[in-house]
């Protein structure tokens, strides 16, 4: 345990509005402070990140009249990793007349998150979900449609209704390009200034006349010139995504990193539930030690694909040796283990459940590839029922992507046994995909630092211990289009008399100096090891001990190993080149420094949480059937971690007690 003294957050700090759950957001908006149009023009807001959350927030704030400075790490706002989301976006439209409602979406999300999300935030998310679809259609997002011209839906894990809107297997791309288009309009109008190839290194805090520290700007590195630059504003919004790349191999893009979030954490923002990491069940398995990232196969495949391993261990052994292939095994010898264990939800159980079930089979020796770490995702049933054309229409681009990577075509006939056609199955295995944990925010999405806000994946609030499929896009856009642009005004209304800040102030001077000193330090270690070689080692520690299944002993080992790794980084890192101009290794080193800090934070949180819930599975805490066993009596809280002055020093735990008014907390059941 991090600290003997147990600190409990004041319930008022989360700023949850009064009233019944369905009226909280309406009440909040009716009574919040607003900024009038003339004053909006005098206020500047920094938005770091241009994914769904960042781009939608930047454009909407600018539409309202604020001046926005918007930063992204790549060559264009359109590259943000939201673009890679495949499957879809949830909304409670009930267009399919299958009994969906705002309450049901809210309920499914809280239950899917294993009762560790903040109820009021989730209800608001479900409430604005319908506005998102309206907004995106009006932007010209080409969602899939039925022949009658109305919008089409499909099902996703953890739900018994079809509420997922999609644009082929490229929903994230289309939604991001929609937000990017609105952003472009504001850039053209001069309301947003876009900074491409910039990376935030620190947030700058300045004390007001009452001695309260407020976020007033950032230090960002121009990645092309290599120079640090200063930017001032009245408020700072962080929308920089998750920290999944701490595991080295993940479905995140190569540049995804946790450094902006860690910079806020070091400056005093609490970090909440860092151990809640999502492991996605349907990724292409790892093939070798030169691999740079893992590719996701959309969850939508589980609508028609059936997951299985052989029933007989001898068949699994022969598969592992490459003597037979999946289509050699007839129906009666296949174990569709998700359908067997979870009859009500079958292949559409939530991601954490599906991932653990795959691990359980592989741990027992039933893995189906040479490493023994893969299961089959099979379309024979769907192809025989619907025909290959219809199946290809639904998943063609995913089949092609799979073939390009693995050289196997999942739509190709493998074998016919007793008149039944067996098609080549895909091989899949779980991989790190998303981080539910993040910077702690209150109902207004403000962090524990005044004037510093966090939106999208980089905050913690809506997904609890596990996120449902198609809910990340929903949350990113909800925060950016419909929540933050209002809640931030409640803060800014008191700032209208604050003049623009000079970046020549001592606070900016000191912050830049500290960032520069860190760059100098990293350049001057002059050891022997490349950034990637240390990063891969970090990834192995994280996956082995802080991955899909965790134990107390394992986490203790992880903490020791992470200390050694930090030491190795600090003494044996080698960064070639200079600080003049672009230096990609230096930028990677900077991110790796923070991934190590994140790794430690995750391990501490996982060790503290003596229960299993959602994506956090502690082997000591499971039912006889191997399901996650929560401990609501002792762990019905958000674990917030406070930085204690230096990396490697144990952080302090502060508990935000969860309070459920609308939902009765139950054991999650996907069996019946």
């Amino acid at each position: 345990m991090a600290n003997n003294e147990i600190l409990i957050m004041n319930p008022a700090d989360s700023k949850i509005p009064e009233g019944p759950i369905a009226e909280k957001w309406t009440n909040y908006k009716a009574h919040q402070k607003l900024v009038n149009p003339a004053n909006k023009r005098r206020l500047d807001i920094i938005v770091v990140g241009t994914g769904l959350a960042g781009a939608s927030a930047a454009s909407t704030l600018a539409e309202m009249g604020f001046n926005v400075l918007n930063f992204n790490i790549q060559d264009s706002p359109r590259r943000a990793h939201s673009i890679a989301a495949q499957g879809g976006i949830n909304a409670a439209k009930n267009y399919q007349n299958d009994g969906d409602s705002i309450y049901r979406l809210f309920y499914d999300t809280v239950k899917g998150g294993d009762y560790r999300a903040r109820e009021a935030n989730v209800y608001r998310l479900a409430e604005v979900s319908n506005n998102i679809i309206d907004q995106c259609v009006a932007q010209g997002v080409p969602f899939a449609r039925e022949y009658g011209g109305l919008l089409a839906n499909r099902s996703f894990g953890g739900a018994q209704v079809s509420r997922t809107f999609y644009a082929k297997g490229q929903t994230g791309q289309q939604l991001l390009l929609g937000a990017y288009s609105s952003l472009n309009r504001q850039i053209e109008l001069g309301k947003v200034k876009s900074y491409n190839r910039y990376e935030m290194h620190d947030v700058v805090l300045i004390k007001d006349e009452n001695g309260v520290e407020r976020a007033r700007g950032i230090i960002a590195k121009n990645l092309v010139t290599g120079k640090l630059e200063r930017f001032a504003a009245h408020a700072v919004v962080i929308a920089t995504g998750g920290y999944g790349n701490a595991y080295f191999l993940s479905t995140n893009a190569m540049a995804c990193n946790g450094s902006a979030a860690v910079a806020c954490y070091r400056k005093g923002a609490y970090f909440a539930n860092p151990a809640f990491v999502q492991i996605h069940p349907t990724c292409i398995p790892v093939h070798g030690d030169k691999q740079s990232k893992l590719t996701l196969m959309s969850e939508s495949l589980r609508n028609d694909g059936r997951i299985w391993v052989p029933k007989k261990i001898e068949d699994a052994k022969r598969l592992q040796k490459g003597e037979i292939t999946g289509s050699d095994i007839p129906e009666e010898d296949r174990d569709y283990y998700l359908e067997r264990r979870y009859p009500a939800f079958g292949n559409l159980v939530p991601r954490d459940v599906a991932s653990r079930a795959a691990k359980e089979r592989c741990d027992k020796g039933f893995g189906v590839n040479n490493t023994g770490l893969a299961v089959f995702l099979d379309f024979s049933d769907a192809i025989n029922r619907l025909g290959i054309d219809q199946v290809r229409q639904r998943y063609g681009n995913l089949f092609d992507m799979y073939e390009e990577i693995t050289d196997v075509n999942p739509g190709e006939l493998g074998k016919e046994i007793n008149g039944y056609k067996y098609y080549n199955p895909m091989m899949i295995y779980p991989s790190i995909h998303y981080t539910m944990g993040g910077i702690w925010v209150d109902y207004e999405l403000q962090t524990t630092i005044k004037g510093l806000f966090a939106i999208g994946e980089c905050n913690f609030s809506d997904h609890g211990a596990n996120r449902l499929g198609a809910s990340a896009l929903m949350q990113g856009l909800a925060d950016g289009y419909f929540v933050l642009p209002f809640t931030i005004q409640n803060y800014l209304a008191d700032q209208i008399r604050v003049p623009r800040f000079s970046t020549n102030s001592p606070e900016f001077e000191a912050a830049e100096k500290a960032c520069q000193a860190e760059m100098d330090r990293l350049m001057n270690i002059k050891g022997k090891r490349s950034v990637d070689s240390i990063h891969k080692e970090l990834g192995r520690v994280m996956w082995d001990y802080v991955g899909m299944a965790r134990t107390k002993e394992g986490l203790e080992t992880a903490i020791v190993k992470l200390k050694e790794l930090r030491n190795e980084f600090n003494t044996n890192l080698f960064v070639p080149g200079t600080q003049e101009g672009m230096n990609i290794e230096l930028d990677k080193a900077f991110r790796l420094r923070d991934f190590i800090t994140m790794g430690e934070l995750m391990a501490h949180d996982a060790m503290n949480r003596n229960e299993s819930c959602g994506g956090h599975f502690r082997e000591e805490f499971q039912t006889e059937e191997g399901e996650a066993k929560r401990d609501d009596e002792n762990f019905f809280y958000v674990a917030c971690w406070r930085y204690e002055g230096e990396d490697g020093k144990e952080p302090t735990l502060i508990k935000e007690a969860l309070k459920y008014e609308a939902i009765q907390v139950q054991t999650r059941n996907y069996k019946s």
């Binding site: 264009s76 932007q139 080409p142 009658g148 609105s182 893009a253 590719t295 992507m401 642009p485 290794e585």
Partner: protein, 252 residues
Amino acid sequence: MAELSMKVNLKVWRQAGPKAKGGFVTYNDVETTSDTSFLETLDILNETLIERGEEPIVFDHDCREGICGMCSLYINGHPHGPATGATTCQLYMRRFKNGETITVEPWRSAAFPVIKDLMVDRNAFDKIQQAGGYVSFNCGGAQDANAIPVSKEMADEAMDSATCIGCGACVAACKNGSAMLFVSAKVSQFALLPQGQVEADRRVRAMVKRMDDLGFGNCTNTGACSAECPKQIKLYNIGRMNRGYIAAKCKE
């Protein structure tokens, strides 16, 4: 299907900065495997360079699953290499022969200046989008999403145009350095949907003008852009844009 060990020679364009003089450097016997991606092979080479104390080769890349549009690279004379309908990051070494010498260059176009090595500046693409690649309305005022039915055919066709990832392969492939395929894909997406109708004329005029102002070349209907496009954006988008442009100009 089995994974094979391979050695390839990489002939790579190196350039220290935007104004520095560049040149090819050949790295022999880079060890990789048939199931390793092309970018991972560059990663392997970079690790060896770092071990030798040299600066790694700079290239743009991010999602490594063919959707962000960040990766570029002219490989053996083709944007995104020899595979059709795939980006550089989706290119696997099984496409090459053991012992082959592979030539790797940055996008070659006046509108995309080199930043370092294989990395170019594609900001001109953003500027074209800023000229009119949107529906002008503010968040909050939208009607119900199902209020205007859109035929499935139209929605699917708009989706096909909207699939463009903005990588710049079309410009790099074009002997004139034209951006017509990129611009027409966005113009078409909106031209096909009811939401885009109100501003259709204004949009096409503004985006074409911006494209011309930024120094992109003219289209001579060679079709290399579409043939090399990793998302197989169809050539008839250009025809649709030209029709819209002429009509819009006539109304002016």
